[in-house]
């Protein structure tokens, strides 16, 4: 399927195919920091969007960090180029370039005010178009879902648009020759799946946290290419309207207050708690 791969001769190997440079694309979304304390979380019910607290910069979605970590684990073992694609209305350079500091080779920013209104279908079509523009690829990695919209559909939709398979919920991803080998999490274990390249794989946190940037990678961020494309650059037709209409957004009201159990010592507090739990019949 993949054409025009860059080949190079490796001194350690006599087999040409072993030295093939793999092209890995990782899709990473900038989101409101999901680790902020609950007390700082506010929404604008009219605009139906969260209001970022002051002095709390956005972060890369933790699921997408695991996708980048999966790519870096592959790159640890073989020659690979990692291209990160981030899409958003307003991307913060210090946030999105964290992917380069962690070890990605180049960054493609899809930035346009129009992207704010995009649903999963439109987002996937913008990313798939960008991937088409970038040239040949072997593997596309996405997080299982975004930490803000929680939809978990963009990976599948990119695969659908590119006409390639998609394996979701991977806890481990490897490249063997021209195959992607994936350990997919199951409720009671896992399965090992393989699929010919190219393919889309979505990753879970079980891949592991994104590694801390090494000094060398951190220092080289400035030398790594960053490309920015707008909706017009991608030739996207923006007549397409969002398939969904969001009617309301609200923060769930927690019924009742927390009853703090008082007592002279921990024994008394423990007894009081258990009495309450028995009253409410949860134990």
């Amino acid at each position: 399927m993949t054409v025009g791969r860059i080949s190079c001769i490796s001194e350690s190997s006599e087999i040409w195919s072993e030295a093939e440079l793999k092209n890995i694309i990782v899709c990473m979304k900038q989101v409101l920091d999901p680790e902020i304390p609950l007390s700082l979380f506010r929404i604008d019910p009219e605009a139906r969007i969260a209001i970022p607290p002051k002095a709390t910069p956005p972060v890369l979605s933790p699921f997408d960090e695991s996708a980048l970590e999966a790519a870096l684990q592959i790159k640890d073992a073989k020659d690979a180029t990692i291209t990160v694609i981030s899409l958003g209305k307003k991307l913060v350079k210090a946030v999105v370039t964290a992917s380069l500091a962690a070890g990605a080779d180049q960054l493609v920013l899809l930035q346009d005010a129009a992207f704010d209104e995009f649903d999963t279908g439109l987002t996937a079509s913008a990313i798939a178009t960008a991937i088409g523009k970038l040239g040949p690829y072997d593997l596309i990695l996405c997080g299982l879902q975004a930490a803000d919209t929680n939809t978990g559909q963009v990976g599948t939709r990119i695969a659908g648009l590119l006409g390639i398979p998609c394996i979701t919920a991977a806890r481990k991803v490897g490249l063997e020759d021209d195959k992607v080998v994936v350990e997919r999490s199951l409720p009671d274990g896992y399965e090992v799946l393989e699929v010919p390249c190219p393919a889309v794989v979505t990753t879970t946190y079980e891949v592991g946290s994104l590694r801390e940037p090494g000094l060398e990678a951190f220092m080289s961020v400035g030398q790594k290419p960053i490309t920015t494309w707008s909706a017009a650059d991608l030739g996207l037709e923006l007549g397409d309207t969002n398939r969904f209409e969001m009617l309301t957004m609200e923060t769930p009201v927690h019924e009742g207050q927390c009853e703090i159990l008082e007592g002279a010592g921990v024994e008394q507090k423990a007894e009081q708690l258990l009495a309450r739990l028995r009253e409410t019949k949860v134990i």
């Binding site: 999901p34 609950l38 398979p165 274990g189 896992y190 090992v192 258990l274």
Partner: protein, 329 residues
């Protein structure tokens, strides 16, 4: 199916050991209520191997029509085969609403199905209702990791939704119900995408699984060590529960990754959730906020976890946990 032309509600019923899985009964419950509100029919699709008993159950739980793909090759989930079955039935029956569970199967299948049918999927719905004016499906789903809830509507049919486990009342069983069974096994062809399964490994979990647990004892950063988690396991054992963790203990390897609760881990809704030395980061809270009763144990009275807890003990967990164990014993 770009327009609002669908009729009826179709529910994908998951199977567990040859019987209807609990999420299937919940989906049939939700589907039945939506079908009644629309004045239309509830149908179901079952995909698997050895489904005889489950088909009868599906009818008893309210499906007037049951589409069945029953074949040894369908024993385990594969996106290709299951998608073919779902696509064949939806193309034939043109439903207004398709419901699946927010499970590994539903999470994988629903986006593919929506894409193939030219529509959208709404994942992890916590409430579903029919708008009395427009007759469209109003879907309540978590956003920002559950810190907010959005109600949205899909403009195209079928309106595909996955439902969160334990969020909807299951259907009532009635053996007197009659239903029509339609065999669609012939619609399944050989998989086309080239995904092959090398092996499937079962990893037995010691004790109660987080997803099934009625009681969960979860530890946060304040637990401080793997040994601390052993103490939580003692408390969990007395309560016949399971042990969960927030993200930092998993990153620190005090707890296994599979124990992580939160938006980046597992979403759970037990009857009782005891959060021990948990600060209450929003991503964690969103993974446990639908628990029936939440207890927080933290020495910091300002900890965010007290905002969502029903009962709190402000004290050092190292004293409280042994006290709870001894009072329970």
């Amino acid at each position: 199916m770009k327009d609002q032309t669908g009729m009826g509600v179709l529910v994908h019923c998951e199977i567990s050991d040859g019987r209807l899985a609990p999420v299937a009964m919940e989906a049939l419950g939700a589907g039945g209520r939506l079908a009644a509100a629309l004045g239309q029919e509830l149908s179901a699709i079952l995909i698997g191997n050895g489904l005889g008993e489950a088909v009868q159950e599906t009818i008893a739980y309210g499906a007037a029509k049951v589409y069945v793909a029953d074949d040894p090759s369908l024993q385990d989930y594969s996106a290709d085969a299951y998608l073919q079955a779902m696509e064949a039935v939806t193309q034939q029956s043109l439903p207004a609403v398709v419901l699946l569970g927010q499970t590994p199967v539903g999470r994988d299948l629903a986006p593919w199905l929506a894409l193939r049918l030219g529509t959208g999927a709404t994942m992890d719905c916590m409430a579903l209702e029919i708008d009395s004016d427009t007759k469209r499906l109003l879907m309540t789903r978590p956003v920002y990791g559950g810190n907010a809830q959005a109600v949205q509507m899909c403009r195209t049919d079928p309106q595909v939704a996955t439902i969160r486990l334990k969020s909807m009342a299951p259907a009532e069983r009635d053996e007197a119900r009659q239903g029509q069974v339609i065999d669609i096994s012939a619609a399944i062809q050989i998989p086309e995408s080239g995904v092959t399964t090398r092996e499937r490994k079962i990893e037995p979990t010691a004790g109660v699984k987080l997803e099934d647990a009625r009681v969960i004892v979860a530890g946060g950063r304040g637990i401080g060590s793997a040994a601390g988690f052993e103490q939580l396991a003692e408390l969990a054992a007395v309560l016949d529960g399971a042990v969960g963790a927030t993200r930092p203990p998993c990153d620190a390897k005090w707890a296994a990754d599979s124990q992580q609760i939160g938006i980046t881990g597992k979403i759970v809704s037990p009857d009782l959730y005891i959060a021990v030395a948990v600060s209450g980061a929003s991503q964690h809270v969103s993974g446990c906020s639908s628990s029936k009763v939440i207890v927080a144990i933290n020495k910091d009275p300002e900890a965010n976890i007290f905002r969502v807890a029903d009962y709190g003990i402000v004290d050092d967990w190292k004293a409280v946990v042994p006290a709870l164990i001894s009072v329970l014993a």
